[in-house]
């Protein structure tokens, strides 16, 4: 069994990592983890696709609809004030969670994809000119490729792609070389959903800033795994989704530095984003409302705030340490399986074990694991260029959250052995 560079394997299961909680106790907070699949207990290892929701989030959403439901920023009546308070209070919670400087730098969106499209359509439309360049990495999710292709096509600008190594690590030297006077923006994923690679975003941002280039960080896969401090990173934009952070679907956050957001035109028009409307001229509202047209997903925002509170109670440092241990354990287990090849072996990884097997397609592995109650994703993970880079049509991907245990990893390995048996 080859040790994995840079990953520490604890001798004993890291029960104590989740101070005062422990994964078994934590699991009781997640009703969906009690589901049985084909008569077997669910082993949920598809957290990079979406995470399960703790009871506290479900309760917050139900309580909102039962006792607080009203539109925000509109009514003088009691319920509207309660809802507005909950909505604006959630923004403060998100601001603290990301350690942003101001509440008005937090824009509620539908999710990471929506946030990236906002920046592409608003920032990109205003600043991109023919011949300009936008830099992305070779490990982006489609949601951080296609919005840039769309605006680059429109503006006759060029999309540049930073290559990655066979281990799935960014070629930082190539990135540095690609930054030029023509670069208008860098959009990079923090943690790759297909490979698990943690990108050196702090260095990437410093290099871009040295040339006056702003950086958008796709945080969809990072917020749930480790602490994120947007001021320490000094990123210009940071987007994430609520549903990958144990919150509801349909809600997300775009952080943007105030001076950048101020200078950007609105993304969508409608109610709430205006301060005065006549048929001749409309005055736009201030930040962040300028970017929140229409009645927002208030219940989603309330649920997201509850999810953040839950995650903070466990502690993101503890989560990171616990998951690193779990990932190292899983990596060791899977590496020992004959014919299995891990795709994505970066030194710095979070949350993801992507793999292929000799003679067994990922889709078949997915079906066989499912019959064992083990939920993984099989496919291209919305990152087809990554699959192409590694010369595989698809991978099977197990992705962890803090409620997963070493027993879940054992079940995964057992399921893979079952697949080998079926295909023998």
């Amino acid at each position: 069994m080859k040790p994995v560079v840079g990953q520490r394997v604890a001798k004993e299961p890291c029960q104590g990592c989740l101070v005062g909680f422990g994964p078994e106790k934590i699991r009781q907070d997640f009703p969906a983890l009690r589901v049985t699949v084909h008569g077997k207990p669910l082993v949920y290892l598809d957290n990079a696709a979406t995470t399960q929701k703790p009871q506290a989030v479900l309760d917050a959403v139900v309580r909102y609809y039962m006792q607080e439901n009203s539109n925000v920023h509109r009514g003088v009546h009691f319920l509207s004030q309660v809802a507005t308070q909950a909505y604006d209070g959630a923004r403060t919670r998100v601001r603290r969670f990301l350690n942003a400087a101001h509440d008005h730098e937090i824009v509620f969106t539908r999710g990471t994809t929506d946030g990236i499209n906002l920046v592409a359509q608003s920032y990109g439309r205003k600043y991109l000119r023919a011949g300009d360049e936008v830099i992305v990495t070779a490990m982006e999710h489609h949601s951080n490729i296609v919005p840039w292709q769309m605006i680059c096509d429109e503006k006759r600008a060029n999309l540049k792609v930073v290559p990655i190594t066979d281990a799935g690590e960014l070629r930082l030297d190539e990135y540095e070389r690609m930054l030029s006077d023509r670069t208008r923006l860098v959009a990079a994923v923090h943690v790759s959903n297909a490979l698990g690679t943690v990108n050196p975003v702090r260095e990437m941002i410093a290099l871009a800033h040295a040339r006056g280039v702003p950086v958008l960080v796709d945080g969809a896969q990072s917020v749930s795994h480790a602490p994120v401090d947007v001021q320490a990173l000094d990123c210009d934009f940071y987007a994430f989704s609520g549903h990958k952070l144990f919150g509801p679907t349909g809600i997300g956050v775009l952080y943007g530095k105030a001076e950048l957001l101020e200078a950007m035109p609105p993304y969508q028009g409608g109610g709430d984003m205006i301060s005065a409307v006549t048929f001749e001229k409309t005055l736009y509202n201030t930040l962040p409302y300028k970017f929140e047209a229409g009645t927002p997903h208030i219940a989603g925002v309330v649920g997201l705030a509850a999810a953040i509170e839950y995650v903070e109670r466990i502690g993101r440092k503890q989560i990171a340490a616990y998951e690193a241990d779990l990932l190292a354990y899983g990596t060791e287990l899977l590496s020992a399986i004959p014919g299995l090849r891990l795709i994505g072996t970066a030194k710095d990884k979070a949350g993801v074990l992507s793999f292929v097997m000799d003679g067994i397609h990922a889709h078949d592995i997915g079906t066989i694991l499912d019959m064992e109650g083990v939920a993984v994703r099989a496919g291209h993970h919305c990152a087809m260029p990554v699959m192409k880079r590694f010369g595989v049509p698809a991978t099977a991907r197990a992705s962890v959250a803090f409620y997963n245990t070493r027993a879940d990893m054992d079940a995964l390995a057992k399921g893979i052995h079952k697949a080998i048996e079926v295909f023998a």
Binding site: H38, G359, I360, H361, A362, H363, D364, T367, I368, M371, A378, G379, H380, M384, M387, P393, A394, K418, V422, F423
Partner: protein, 149 residues
């Protein structure tokens, strides 16, 4: 395990590991490509039509055991069939894998009956039917790629 064995029958695994008629067809006068964007399965089907009859058929592709074995078995049963017979066989095959059999006799499907287990796995129906959709596109002489989406 019993459900799994019903899906991954030995005949299916055999055709997956040793696909029949797996080549480009010299002298093919019809050809179509199909893919499943969900999982990346790819199939190219080649036909040599003699009037209304499939004189020769072959395929190439990459993908899961279900899609590749379905393609392989399809080529073994369609050789010598007329266009109408191929269409009829596809209708029966499709009814079986979607579980919309209405008591269709599996005997009529001959060795294709090994795919009866697919109906228990709704997400895998597309895998089994992709080669057939691609074959039909080739029969129709359509140029654009077939997609299961």
């Amino acid at each position: 395990m019993s459900d799994l064995r019903e899906l991954y029958q030995q005949v299916i695994l055999d055709h997956y590991k040793k696909p029949r008629n797996f080549q480009r067809l010299d002298g093919a006068n019809r050809h179509a490509e199909g893919h499943n964007p969900l999982c990346g399965d790819q199939i190219a089907v080649y036909l040599h039509m003699d009037g209304d009859t499939i004189k020769e058929i072959s395929f190439q592709g990459a993908g899961c055991a279900i899609s590749q074995s379905a393609a392989s078995l399809m080529t073994t049963v369609l050789k010598g069939k007329t266009k109408a017979e191929a269409e009829e066989l596809f209708a029966k095959f499709h009814a079986m894998v979607t579980g919309d059999g209405h008591g269709a006799d599996p005997m009529e499907l001959g060795k294709l009956a090994v795919f009866c287990g697919v109906s228990e796995f709704p997400v895998r129906v597309k895998c089994a039917s992709l080669p057939w959709h691609t074959m039909r596109a080739a029969l129709e002489g359509k140029d654009e790629a077939v997609s299961t989406e």
